[in-house]
């Protein structure tokens, strides 16, 4: 979707402001939100792509004015309710009003912690040979799906070069729509900045994206 989350190349957000000696969490609740997000993942009620899409679906005003972990919190609460893990009246009451139903696994305990602090695996067997090879010139498609996609706006409709081939991975556009993993080849595609931003762009800048095969076409 063409949402405010797709920020590459926008102007007006001001300077980047690094914080010296920044703590890992600025408030206690941020750590709890992070930990709950990791823990609840084991129930496989949704995927990483669903959770990214849920943040993108926040209204632009909410997206732009909420703190990072606040967006995670709102997203988690909404998905927990949508997927029936908790109920709206329980949120209002601040406590459980009925037992969990249809739990796919037992309680998330200390023994499960290690498994969720390691990143998941998103590589999958390839469904077909790769259409492109390293060195090929490719054009990204000019597409504007109203659902989740990982092809940023600034990189649509531009010609680049395939630099790396990463094997086939879960296709986020499909997974976030609840249509299954639909594995697709993943490439690093490199663009000259002037191809993306015009003749005034930095002549010594190159930018790459990670592009799934359905985003690409032959030049």
């Amino acid at each position: 979707m063409d949402g405010v989350h797709d920020m590459g190349g926008m102007d007006g957000f001001g300077k980047v402001e690094p914080e010296p000696n920044e703590p890992v969490f600025h408030h206690r609740w941020e750590g709890r939100v992070l930990a709950m997000s990791r823990a609840i993942g084991v129930f496989r009620a949704w995927t990483i792509d669903t959770s990214r899409y849920a943040v993108e679906l926040l209204s632009p005003a909410v997206y732009l004015t909420s703190a990072y972990y606040e967006k995670w919190f709102v997203r988690n609460q909404q998905l927990l309710i949508e997927r029936g893990l908790i109920d709206v009246d329980e949120v209002a009451a601040g406590r459980a009003l009925r037992p969990a139903k249809g739990m796919k696994r037992g309680r998330f305990t200390l023994a499960d912690v290690e498994s969720v602090t390691r990143r998941g695996s998103y590589g999958r067997p390839a469904p077909a040979p790769a259409r492109y090879k390293v060195g090929d010139r490719v054009r990204t498609k000019n597409i504007h799906p109203t659902t989740h996609t990982r092809l940023p706006r600034y990189a649509r409709g531009h010609v680049g070069v395939v630099e790396r081939l990463h094997g086939a991975h879960i296709f986020p556009d499909s997974a976030a729509a609840g249509k299954g993993e639909d594995p697709q080849w993943l490439y690093t595609v490199r663009f000259e900045a002037q191809e993306l931003w015009g003749a005034d762009a930095d002549p010594k800048l190159k930018v790459s994206i990670e592009a799934f095969e359905p985003y690409l076409e032959h030049v």
Partner: protein, 207 residues
């Protein structure tokens, strides 16, 4: 009076988030999905165990051991596994090397993808709208915000992490570190130097 109102408002905002988060945690615990101690442990791991010191050890070894450097550039997930503080490092980690000709920078313009296994949780600036919007278009101006100026002839390469691949920058080893141990070298390697918004410290800065 105005100051009092301000404090009061800020206080109630913070406690409102705290209360809302506590409510969800209580519900999840009472319904039997999670145990509180497991959440405590996750927070503790990210606060104490999983952080940029892991990446710094990796880079220090790459600076000291040409064979390891080669393995790291060929298959970073595999090369880095020995450094995992907890479990194993996840898949799809890619190391990209700075040279006198090319300086690498990493971003996620769409959300906040970051090589958490080796750098811990991302700093606020990495997730900021300013960084995400600007670095793919004007990275030299972003570097200036970090107090870094590169020669005009240095090529800048920005990697936008739009999939599950994760990028770790291998910065250039500072001069006058001949004979240094990996432990000594690791002190020079900052988090930002492994994202590309900073350079390693010079030996004179840690003396």
């Amino acid at each position: 009076m105005a100051e009092h109102d301000h404090d009061h408002n800020e206080g109630s905002n913070l406690s409102e988030m705290e209360l809302r988060v506590r409510a969800i945690e209580t519900i999840l615990v009472e319904k039997g999905y999670i145990e509180t101690a497991a959440l405590d442990r996750i927070v503790e791991l990210y606060e104490t165990k999983i952080g940029p010191h892991i990446g710094a050890q990796v880079i220090a070894k790459a600076w000291s051991d040409p064979g390891f450097r080669q393995s790291l550039l060929e298959d970073a997930s595999k090369a880095v596994n020995a450094f995992a503080q907890v479990g194993r490092v996840g898949e799809h980690l890619i190391a990209v090397e700075n040279t006198p000709q090319v300086h690498n920078m990493v971003v996620c313009t769409l959300c906040s993808c970051y090589p958490t296994d080796v750098l811990g949780l991302p700093p606020t600036w990495y997730k900021s709208f300013a960084y995400r919007s600007r670095v793919v278009k004007e990275p030299r101006a972003v570097l200036a915000d970090f107090g870094v100026a590169l020669p005009a002839e240095t090529e800048i390469r920005v990697w936008d992490s739009t999939a599950e691949t994760r990028y770790l920058v291998v910065p250039m080893c500072p001069a006058q570190t001949e004979g240094w141990s990996e432990t000594q070298l690791a002190v020079l390697i900052t988090r930002d130097s492994m994202i590309g918004t900073g350079l390693p410290k010079k030996p004179s800065e840690v003396a």
